[in-house]
């Protein structure tokens, strides 16, 4: 128990004094996972909208695959991305292994199925008459997509939260493709692993608290937007 209090005190000391390395790691976590969430959003909304509105053979299989992907083990994603990006791998020539970009790729793959799944659910819950009505009013495809996304924005925010939450709290893939390089690819989760391995428990707890606060803040902001927008 003493250890936990020591960790909490250390966390507040770090938060208070602005330890440069810790803030860099935190910022890097936000940048990497934020980018991954953005890409996952683009991919997820595109695929999700297709799955929600189109009827085609194999659609059920596709939805099942997306649902499977929502529970995809990050460490498997990490291994596959690492094998592709290693110098000896098929994409080795890109020199992306052990860079933040490699981490963005892995986290995008982890977050995209979540965003897709949430999008399918969100668009599926719209009133069934909405689209025929928009067509009847003469909306173009693009206009319609925009209007539909605006209508479904509240559940879509949940998709962003889920995607960011998965990306930022993931550790296995980030370790494997990022290499946990200090000053380059060390993010909050991998920094916690390293600190714990080195027996530096107080910093490990401090970093964990920062990670929790970060996820909390992101959710707080997005939930705030969601609540304000909610039609009364």
């Amino acid at each position: 128990m003493e250890l936990i209090w020591e960790g909490v005190r250390e966390a507040f000391r770090i938060l208070g004094t602005g330890d440069r390395e810790v803030w860099e790691i935190t910022l890097r976590s936000v940048l990497v996972s934020g980018s991954a969430t953005l890409f996952a959003l683009i991919i997820g909304v595109t695929i999700g909208a297709t799955l929600a509105f189109r009827r085609f053979p194999g659609r059920n299989l596709a939805v099942t695959l997306v649902n499977t992907g929502m529970g995809f083990p990050p460490v498997v994603v990490g291994l596959v991305v690492a094998i592709m990006l290693w110098r000896s791998g098929p994409l080795g020539g890109l020199n992306l292994i052990y860079t933040p970009v490699a981490m963005v790729i892995a986290q995008t793959i982890i977050a995209a199925p979540l965003v897709t799944g949430f999008t399918v659910a969100a668009l599926g819950s719209l009133p069934p008459g909405l689209r025929p009505q928009l067509y009847a009013l003469g909306a173009s495809r693009l206009q319609m997509l925009r209007l539909v996304l605006v209508e479904a924005r509240l559940p879509l925010l949940a998709a962003v939260m889920a995607g960011f939450g998965a990306a930022v709290s993931e550790v296995g893939a980030s370790l494997m493709v990022g290499g946990n390089l200090g000053g380059e690819t060390r993010v909050l989760t991998t920094a916690v692993v390293l600190a714990a391995r080195r027996g530096e428990f107080a910093p490990a707890i401090a970093l964990s608290i920062i990670l929790l606060v970060l996820v909390f803040l992101v959710n707080l902001v997005l939930t705030g937007v969601q609540q304000r927008e909610r039609p009364s």
Partner: protein
């Protein structure tokens, strides 16, 4: 209201795009990157934290340090996924060099392995005359022994000690493989009051948070020698040969050896490594 939502989402998108651009910009490395695959023991002890900035300053190379077990490090070298290796499993390294995967192998430093366990020492390891006798006592007692189980240099050494003893404990119920680095393995052994073979450096670095104590040390079977070597550029395109050669030279030069000699003195009251450059064995 939908206009507000639209503006909010556009703002979010804009910020996210900037973020993505920044991440990409930060990642665009140059040809001066040097991938060093090394063992968790050299990394976790903090030695490389002291040495790498000096090397980078002197040579302008940018070192990407990947801390894995010696087995993984050699495998990375074999596939050309690393430029230079700092490892501690001499017999595996010799095979690696003989097979033509490594060149310019140089001795850097040594420390020693120690056998650690609970202070109570129920099976009297303190009285054991050498490492194999000590392991034999653990085996007879059926008390839990924690192995790295990760093909690291420490794991390889531990297996060769069991082999010398003529024992194969890998399927025994008292023998557990953690599959993790030295730091994690020591912490597991500590929590579950078991025994383990560890390099002295990692043990000293973690001593403050461990109840384990050194029970056996100081015989020839426990010498732990570290070598540095280049990955053979003839085997793989894209290996940073100049950088690797510069790193090998850096590790054995006098000023670096002096840093190694003093490393740990302030913090632990004794050096963690002994400089040992000059020669191959």
């Amino acid at each position: 209201m939908s206009a507000t939502a639209y503006r909010v989402s556009m703002a979010i998108l804009a910020v996210a795009a900037l973020v993505a651009a920044a991440a990409f910009g930060a990642a665009c490395g140059s040809g001066s990157d040097l991938i060093l695959a090394t063992t968790t023991s050299t990394y976790d002890s903090g030695l490389l934290d002291d040495l790498l900035p000096v090397f980078e300053e002197e040579t302008g190379y940018h070192v990407k340090l990947i801390a894995v077990g010696t087995g993984r490090a050699l495998e990375m070298g074999r596939r050309g996924d690393a430029d230079v290796l700092l490892v501690h499993a001499p017999s595996s390294e010799q095979v690696f060099v003989d097979e033509g995967y490594g060149v310019n192998r140089q001795r850097v430093m040594f420390n020693d392995f120690v056998i650690v366990g609970p202070d109570a020492d129920p099976v009297n390891l303190r009285g054991a005359e050498d490492a194999t006798t000590a392991l034999h006592a653990v085996q007879k007692s059926q008390l839990t022994f924690f192995s790295r189980g990760d093909d690291s240099g420490t794991h390889k050494r531990e297996l060769s000690l069991w082999e010398e003893l003529g024992a194969d404990p890998t399927n025994e119920s008292w023998y557990r493989e953690t599959g993790q680095g030295m730091g994690e393995t020591l912490q597991i052994a500590n929590q579950l009051e078991g025994y383990a073979l560890t390099d002295r450096g990692t043990f000293l670095a973690l001593q403050d948070v461990l109840d384990l104590v050194v029970l056996h040390e100081g015989d020839d079977q426990l010498l732990n020698v570290y070598h540095v070597m280049q990955v053979n550029p003839d085997r793989h395109g894209g290996v940073n040969t100049e950088g690797a050669a510069a790193f090998v030279e850096f590790m054995v030069e006098e000023s670096t050896q002096a840093v190694i000699e003093d490393f740990g003195l302030d913090e632990f009251g004794q050096p963690l490594f002994v400089p040992y450059a000059g020669g191959q064995e």
